[in-house]
C-alpha cells in the first residue's frame, strides 16, 4: 500500500514537473514569436512604404507583392494591402476569406494612422491571432497612400517534434534525480530500519521465539553495535575533555606567567612601562604608577599619549619612533618634582621585537639616577680639588724658582726666604701626595697595616719633631705630658705617625700665634691614649659632624684662610679604626679643641707580624 502511495506521489510529481516545464517552453516560444513578428513587421512595412504609390498599380505592384511573398514565409505573412490616399484598395495579397473577416476598426485605424501602427486582433475561423503593421506612403511631403501587412501568430504545440526531445530529456532528468534521492534516503535509514526490525523480531514476534540461537546472535550483534558506538562516543568525549583540560592548563599558565611578570615588574626599583605596537600600555609597574601618581586602571590599555602628562618623555618617545625600529638605547633626563622633588630620573626606551624581528612595542624604563648624579658631581669636585691642591704648591715652587734663576731677587735675606718657601711648598706637596695615596688606598680598601712593635716614646718624639718648626714660627708652646713608662703598641708605626702628625699639624695650623698645645700620652682601660688639646679657633658646631669627611673644609674664615686639602682627618680616622681604636673630639669655638686618639694595646709576641 505504502509502495503504491509512493509511486502515485512520484507520478504526480513527475506530471506536474513536465506540465510546468512544457508551459514555460510554450510561453517562451510565444514571446520569441511576437518579438520576431514585431521586428519583421516594422522592417517590412517601412521597406514597402518607401515605394511611390504609383509602383503599386498594374504589373509592377503585382511584382512587388510577389517578391514580398517569396521573401517572407507564407506561414507568417498572411496579407498585404496597398490603399491610395482615399482609402481605396490598389493592390492586395492574401486569402479572401481572411480579408473579408478583418474587423472594420482595424482597417480604419491602419488607414488613418500617421507613423507605424501595429495592432493585433483575432479572426473568427483562424486559430491564430493576426498582427497588423500599417505605414503611410508619402510623396513630396503629402500622404499618397497606406501599406498594411498582416502577420499570423501561431499557437505553439506542446508536443511539437522539436520539443518532444527536450521534454524527454527533462523527464529523464527528473526521474534520475527522484531515484537518486529515494535511494539516498533508503540507505540512510537502512541501519535504523534494521535495528528497529531486529528489535521487533527479537522481542515482539512470538513466531521467531523458537529460533533461539539466531535470535541470540542478532541480539549480540545489536549490543556489539551499540557498544562500539558507545566506545567511539566515549573516545570522542575523552579527546574533547583532554583538549579542554589542555587549553585550561595553557590558559592558567599564561595567566600565571602574566601575574608573575607583573609581580617581578612591581618588585623592581625603577619605573617600567611596556606598550604594544600601537603604543597602548600593556604593563606598568608600581614604581612607575607612584611616580606618575596614577592608578593601574587609569593607565592599562590606554595610549601613552592620552595618559602621560610628561612632555619630555613623550617627545623623547616620538623621536625614538622616528629613528626606526632597530634596537637602540638612548635616554633623556627628567624630574617628578611633585612626587619626589630633587631627584633626577633617566628615561630610556627599548624597542621590543618578536623572534622574526617584527616590532611588538616598546619598553620605557625610568631610573632614579640622583645618586649617580651626586657621585658624578662629587667625582668632578674631587678632581678639581686635587688638581688645585697639587698645582698650588707647584706654582709657588716654579715661580719662586724663576725669580731666583732670572736674578730678580738679589737681596740675600730675600733669597733665603725664597729657598725656605720652596722647601716648605715641596714638603706640602709631598704630604699631599702621601695623603692622596693613602686616601686612594682607603677608597680601594687596600690600606693595610704593616704591624710591628711600636715604641710610643719614639712615636711621640717623631711626631713632635715634625711640627716643632711650624709651632716655633707662630710662637706656639707645646707642652708634653708623658708617662714614666711609655706603653708599647702593636701597630703600623708609619701610619700611626701620619695619624698623630695630622692632628698635631691641625692644632698648630688653627691656633693663633702665642697659643699653646698640650700633647699628652697615657694608658687607660688597656689602651694608649694620645691627647692633643689646643687654644685655637675651635670647630663650629655645624662643622663637627663633617670634620672626618673627605675634602670637607669649614667656611669659618679662620679655618678657610689656611691651606689644607681636607684629607688629613679622614685619613687619621681611617688609620685609627684600622688599629681597632677610636677618635674623640671636643671643641668650643673661640676656646680650643681636644682630640683624643685611643689605640688598644695588644700583647706583642716575637714572630707575630
Amino acid at each position: 500500500m505504502r509502495a503504491k502511495g509512493i509511486y502515485g506521489a512520484f507520478l504526480a510529481f513527475f506530471l506536474i514537473g513536465i506540465a510546468l516545464f512544457g508551459n514555460i517552453l510554450i510561453q517562451q516560444e510565444k514571446r520569441e514569436q511576437v518579438r520576431r513578428i514585431l521586428d519583421q513587421g516594422n522592417y517590412l512595412v517601412s521597406l514597402v512604404a518607401l515605394h511611390p504609390i504609383d509602383d503599386f498599380t498594374g504589373d509592377k505592384g503585382r511584382f512587388i507583392l510577389r517578391t514580398l511573398r517569396e521573401y517572407v514565409s507564407s506561414d507568417d505573412l498572411v496579407y498585404c494591402f496597398i490603399h491610395d490616399h482615399n482609402g481605396e484598395p490598389l493592390a492586395s495579397l492574401g486569402p479572401d476569406e481572411l480579408i473579408s473577416s478583418i474587423p472594420k476598426s482595424v482597417e480604419s485605424q491602419a488607414l488613418y494612422a500617421l507613423g507605424i501602427k501595429s495592432q493585433s486582433f483575432p479572426v473568427e475561423g483562424w486559430e491564430a491571432a493576426i498582427y497588423e503593421f500599417a505605414k503611410p506612403i508619402f510623396a513630396q511631403g503629402e500622404r499618397t497612400g497606406t501599406v498594411r501587412l498582416g502577420f499570423r501568430l501561431h499557437n505553439p504545440s506542446l508536443f511539437a517534434p522539436e520539443r518532444i526531445e527536450l521534454l524527454a530529456l527533462v523527464a529523464f532528468f527528473i526521474i534520475s534525480v527522484a531515484v537518486l534521492i529515494y535511494y539516498g534516503i533508503i540507505l540512510a535509514l537502512r541501519r535504523l530500519n534494521n535495528l528497529s526490525l531486529g528489535m521487533k523480531h527479537e522481542f515482539l514476534d512470538p513466531a521467531s521465539a523458537a529460533s533461539g540461537v539466531v535470535k541470540g546472535a542478532r541480539v549480540e550483534q545489536i549490543i556489539r553495535d551499540l557498544e562500539e558506538s558507545l566506545v567511539l562516543l566515549r573516545e570522542r568525549m575523552d579527546s574533547i575533555e583532554l583538549r579542554k583540560t589542555e587549553l585550561e592548563t595553557k590558559f592558567g599558565l599564561t595567566a600565571f606567567q602574566k601575574n608573575q611578570l607583573t609581580t617581578i615588574l612591581d618588585a623592581m626599583r625603577s619605573g617600567i612601562m611596556i606598550t604594544d605596537s600601537q603604543d597602548n600600555i600593556i604593563h606598568i609597574n608600581l614604581y612607575m604608577l607612584a611616580l606618575l601618581n596614577k592608578m593601574r586602571e587609569e593607565m592599562l590599555d590606554r595610549p601613552l599619549w592620552d595618559v602621560l602628562d610628561q612632555d619630555e618623555i613623550l617627545s623623547f618617545i616620538t623621536q625614538q619612533g622616528i629613528q626606526g625600529r632597530e634596537r637602540q638605547v638612548d635616554f633623556v633626563e627628567t624630574t617628578f618634582p611633585e612626587v619626589i622633588p630633587g631627584n633626577v630620573f633617566r628615561v630610556s626606551s627599548l624597542n621590543l621585537q618578536d623572534s622574526d624581528g617584527t616590532g611588538t612595542g616598546r619598553m620605557i624604563l625610568v631610573e632614579d639616577i640622583t645618586n649617580e648624579k651626586l657621585a658624578e658631581k662629587a667625582k668632578k669636585e674631587f678632581v678639581a680639588h686635587v688638581t688645585h691642591e697639587l698645582y698650588t704648591p707647584l706654582t709657588t715652587i716654579k715661580s719662586y724658582n724663576e725669580m731666583l734663576v732670572t736674578g730678580e731677587v738679589r737681596d740675600p735675606e730675600m733669597q733665603t726666604e725664597f729657598y725656605n718657601t720652596i722647601l716648605e711648598e715641596t714638603d706640602r706637596l709631598q704630604r699631599l701626595i702621601e695623603n692622596l695615596l693613602n686616601i686612594s688606598k682607603i677608597e680601594m680598601g687596600s690600606l693595610t697595616l704593616q704591624r710591628g712593635l711600636v715604641k710610643s716614646d719614639s712615636l711621640v718624639k717623631d711626631c713632635v719633631a715634625a711640627i716643632e718648626t711650624q709651632a716655633r714660627r707662630k710662637s706656639i708652646t707645646i707642652e708634653k705630658l708623658l708617662p714614666d713608662n711609655f706603653p708599647s703598641l702593636f701597630g703600623d708605626k708609619d701610619l700611626l705617625k701620619v695619624a698623630i702628625i695630622n692632628i698635631l699639624g691641625n692644632a698648630v695650623k688653627y691656633t693663633p700665634e702665642n697659643g699653646s698645645i698640650t700633647f699628652s700620652l697615657f694608658e687607660k682601660d688597656g689602651a694608649a691614649v694620645f691627647d692633643v688639646a689646643d687654644t685655637g679657633y675651635g670647630i663650629a658646631e655645624e662643622d663637627l659632624p663633617h670634620i672626618f669627611d673627605k675634602f670637607y673644609r669649614s667656611k669659618d674664615p679662620n679655618i678657610a684662610d689656611k691651606t689644607g686639602s681636607g684629607l688629613g682627618l679622614g685619613i687619621t680616622s681611617e688609620i685609627v679604626h684600622l688599629h681597632g681604636g677610636e677618635i674623640l673630639v671636643e671643641s668650643e669655638p673661640g676656646q680650643g679643641t681636644r682630640f683624643s686618639v685611643r689605640i688598644p694595646r695588644e700583647e706583642y709576641h716575637l714572630g707575630k707580624q
Partner: protein, 127 residues
C-alpha cells in the same frame, strides 16, 4: 709708564700673592692684594685698579663670582682680568669668553709670562 698703573692681585695663597706682587713692583706697578674674592671685590670697587689677577678657587667669594661682579664695573672703563687656574675646562672657557677683557692663564704660571700679558694689554690699550 707702569708707575701710574695699579694691579689688584687676588689669591688665597700667601706665597703666590707675594711673588706676583714682587714681580710687578719690580717693574714699577702699584700692587694691591686681597686674600679672597670678597676682599678683592671691595678693593676693586674702592680703588678701581687698571688690571686684576685672580685665582678661581678661593674661600668666601670665588674667582668666577668676582669676575661676574666686576663685569658692570667694566662698563665705566674696561680693565684686563687675568684668571689664573689650574684646570682649563670647557665650562671655564665658556664663562671666561662671555666676560669683557678677560683671559685665562694656566697654573703653574710663570711670573714673567704674567707680566708680558699685562704689558701687552696696556700697550694695546694705548695708555
Amino acid at each position: 709708564m707702569a708707575s701710574n698703573k695699579t694691579i689688584l692681585v687676588v689669591d688665597d695663597e700667601g706665597p703666590i700673592r707675594r711673588i706676583i706682587e714682587l714681580k710687578l713692583k719690580n717693574r714699577g706697578y702699584n700692587v694691591i692684594t686681597a686674600k679672597d674674592g670678597e676682599e678683592g671685590l671691595d678693593l676693586l670697587r674702592r680703588q678701581k685698579p687698571d688690571a686684576v689677577v685672580t685665582d678661581i678657587m678661593m674661600p668666601r667669594l670665588d674667582g668666577k663670582s668676582l669676575c661676574e661682579h666686576a663685569e658692570p664695573l667694566k662698563q665705566a672703563g674696561s680693565f684686563l682680568t687675568i684668571v689664573v687656574t689650574c684646570r682649563i675646562s670647557p665650562e671655564e672657557r665658556s664663562w671666561v669668553a662671555r666676560m669683557t677683557d678677560t683671559v685665562l692663564m694656566e697654573k703653574p704660571f710663570s711670573p714673567s709670562r704674567l707680566l708680558e700679558c699685562l704689558e701687552k694689554y696696556f700697550e694695546k690699550d694705548g695708555s
